[in-house]
Symmetry: C2
Subunit: 500 residues, 2 copies
Amino acid sequence: VDGVDFSCKSFISSVWEFCKEDVDRVTFSLKVGLAVLIVSLLILCRDPYRVFGTNIIWSILTVAIMFEYTVGATFNRGFNRALGSLLAGVMAIAIAQIALSTGQVAEPIIIGFSIFIVGTVTSFMKLWPSLVPYEYGFRVMLFTYCLIIVSGYRMGSPFRTAMDRLYSIAIGGIVAVSVNLLIFPIWAGEQLHKELVNNFASVADALEECVRKYLQDDGSEQPEFTKTVMDDFPDEPAYRKCRSTLNSAAKFETLANSAKWEPPHGRFNHFFYPWSEYVKVGAVLRYCAYEVMAIHGVLHSEIQAPYNLRITFQKEIQEASSTAAELVRYLGQNIDNMQWSLKSCLLKRVHVSTERLQRAIDMHSYLLTSDNSSIPQTKLDHAMSSTLADLDPKLLEQNLDPPNQLPGSTVTLQVESYHETMRKQSRRQYSWPSREVDAFEDDRGFNKDSIPKMQALESTTNLSLATFTSLLIEFVARLNHLVEAVDELSNMAKFKHCNA
Amino acid sequence: VDGVDFSCKSFISSVWEFCKEDVDRVTFSLKVGLAVLIVSLLILCRDPYRVFGTNIIWSILTVAIMFEYTVGATFNRGFNRALGSLLAGVMAIAIAQIALSTGQVAEPIIIGFSIFIVGTVTSFMKLWPSLVPYEYGFRVMLFTYCLIIVSGYRMGSPFRTAMDRLYSIAIGGIVAVSVNLLIFPIWAGEQLHKELVNNFASVADALEECVRKYLQDDGSEQPEFTKTVMDDFPDEPAYRKCRSTLNSAAKFETLANSAKWEPPHGRFNHFFYPWSEYVKVGAVLRYCAYEVMAIHGVLHSEIQAPYNLRITFQKEIQEASSTAAELVRYLGQNIDNMQWSLKSCLLKRVHVSTERLQRAIDMHSYLLTSDNSSIPQTKLDHAMSSTLADLDPKLLEQNLDPPNQLPGSTVTLQVESYHETMRKQSRRQYSWPSREVDAFEDDRGFNKDSIPKMQALESTTNLSLATFTSLLIEFVARLNHLVEAVDELSNMAKFKHCNA
């Protein structure tokens, strides 16, 4: 009993969470209930029933099929249903009149043949790429045509049947649209707006999360690649959100399509609001998010730069990524507040920090190639222990000259751990061509060829850091397009311009 | 008249192309026509009409709503419709009996209230994430419940109304399923199989296309970034196909869900065929395709390695990418033929060519850092002019010693073009922080700081090549997971194992 009680409680609490997450869900459900209730009352009450008759049950069907989550989508479906029904009605009346005039024998043959043709043509048309959004309209057209012409054949007057059907559909449509529009309307435009703002935030979060993990990870705790992990990454919520951003193209399209059907409302108070511009900004943002995906790919790649090398550039990487994330967040907030103030200092900081990262990589590029024979060990040690805290180039040049200002013990420790990491890395390295390289590995001890190969791999692992940083730099480079896209959106959507 | 004639011709030819592309589309359309014709005959012919009555029009509705493209999807929809209708029928009868027993005044109130509750609950449930696939079933449940209880209220016997409705729905369902299953069935499983095989081919094509373009591009013809180009890349058909691969997750899920409803058929001739394994292989393939997206990102990135540097590693990059693409294609063919023969020589070639690329990068890593002060110019020139055609390490070491075996004129030409490219690159470089760096740029001529900055940028452009190659190497590293996934699929789906 306790178990049942517990699972019941957890069920209720999860339902409660689900509602609290988005109250619109409850609103929507209650609205559907209300709409079907209103239509049903037309039959349940005696007076309207006398007026409308049993045909009114078609209104119920219409409401149930037409009622969509957002106002725009309901309008869109309503348009599909109305146009589909109307076309079907007109066609059915025309064909029925022709069939009637041909006499009793030919009539059912003509009707049957026309049903076959309509079924085939509408099904074919809805597969046509540019007509796919109107799939529902074609479905409605097919069954309305069949219903009118068939019941018209049995009941005698196709015109009357068609009119009865059409006005009961119209009543259902009017009820669905009114309830959806007048009672706590859920606007597709509002959803699109929120979705875009959220996407900005999730890209920024994912970038920061990737960088943080990259700098934390010491290479030992990397979990084995398993199918469950692969598409999931349970410990990286921001990444998962960002990945869903990449798949949001279709959602954006759908919402923008629905939003175009909506009248001006709330904050979006002028006609021809540029909803399609939202889709474009979303696309540019996705273009940036691809770079985050690539960065995440390096984070989980088989070939990893040693931890100590990563930590060397910690400060620069962190600064570049956090200013970039800040800019992305700032853009998102601007859209959210429907204002546009390009803070030039923010942009400048992004560029300066990225340049600093580039310069740091340049200054220490010998670390990436790890041609150990030519680089003195002291230099390497120095670079490893200093975190390049203050990379003003002049300060740095001074720093480079006296290399022995650190206590020897620390240096030894650092070097040891560096080499240990390298060994770990190279072991991991060997594991990836797991099937075929065994032959090579076996004679590693005997053959002299194994040494250059080892070096090759070591250098490649170091270059992995270069990959990480250059992807980060590329992300920043792409931000310019994002700024431009948001700028264009702000102009077209007439955001409030402030100069900050 | 000629214009109309021409557009009519082009319309017909495009429809013809559309049909030829996939004959199943025509088959599907004709089948829908046939199914509605069969149901309509039940009303048009006198004898069945006498048996079934006007209720049979519900069968038409059922066919029009239930008929889906594939057998599995039709089964799935049919199941939704059947279960939804059945539950609704049972509920409606129960509630109607209760309402009847409460007397004339309370009856419509109870009925109205129950309609409201059913409308609210079904709408809420269909928003629940795990119930979203059954959205259609909830819709059916809602309107069937309303129709039965309302018309039952007006016509007196809810049980009889429910039964009439249910058996006419059953007739429609049986007709839809039989036509779909017995006449040229279109199997979701077959579609899923084809889709996966196509995805393998498109990833391989996209990889080769990216690499080809990277090695062709001399940096001058790069088109300006415009919004139209950004999400389109009209001159890269393989890339666009590959990108659609990334968005195919939902399609795979849908097809696999449908395929599970299908009986064994054709080549998939045993029960419990592992369709979900196809989804997993597709996910691993997508994991590899992300790497191709990243490679494509480098190809179109703002920061580009100079052309001459790229061409230096041409042979190694081309070999690594083409063997990797070959392996991917081979895996796809294996799935297509439903056999599994892991050609170890192919795998070995992939690993060897990738190792060769790594070694080449390692040997010439000084090119990537371009610390010009420490590297003698001759060395650079030599590396630029030689395409590293034969990178046997021993041969190469011999090569490095005599640097002046080339005619002087060629060297000068090469160096000149190299420097020109660098200038182009750096100009492009400067263009990206377009708004804010102007201040820096203005005093470029006067300030000494501009020189280290310039160097920093130059080295970053060179590192872009390192990024490209390490992404390529990472792609190869991920192929191992793909081989494993295909191996598992081959075991679970009982592919024919051959040893080659």
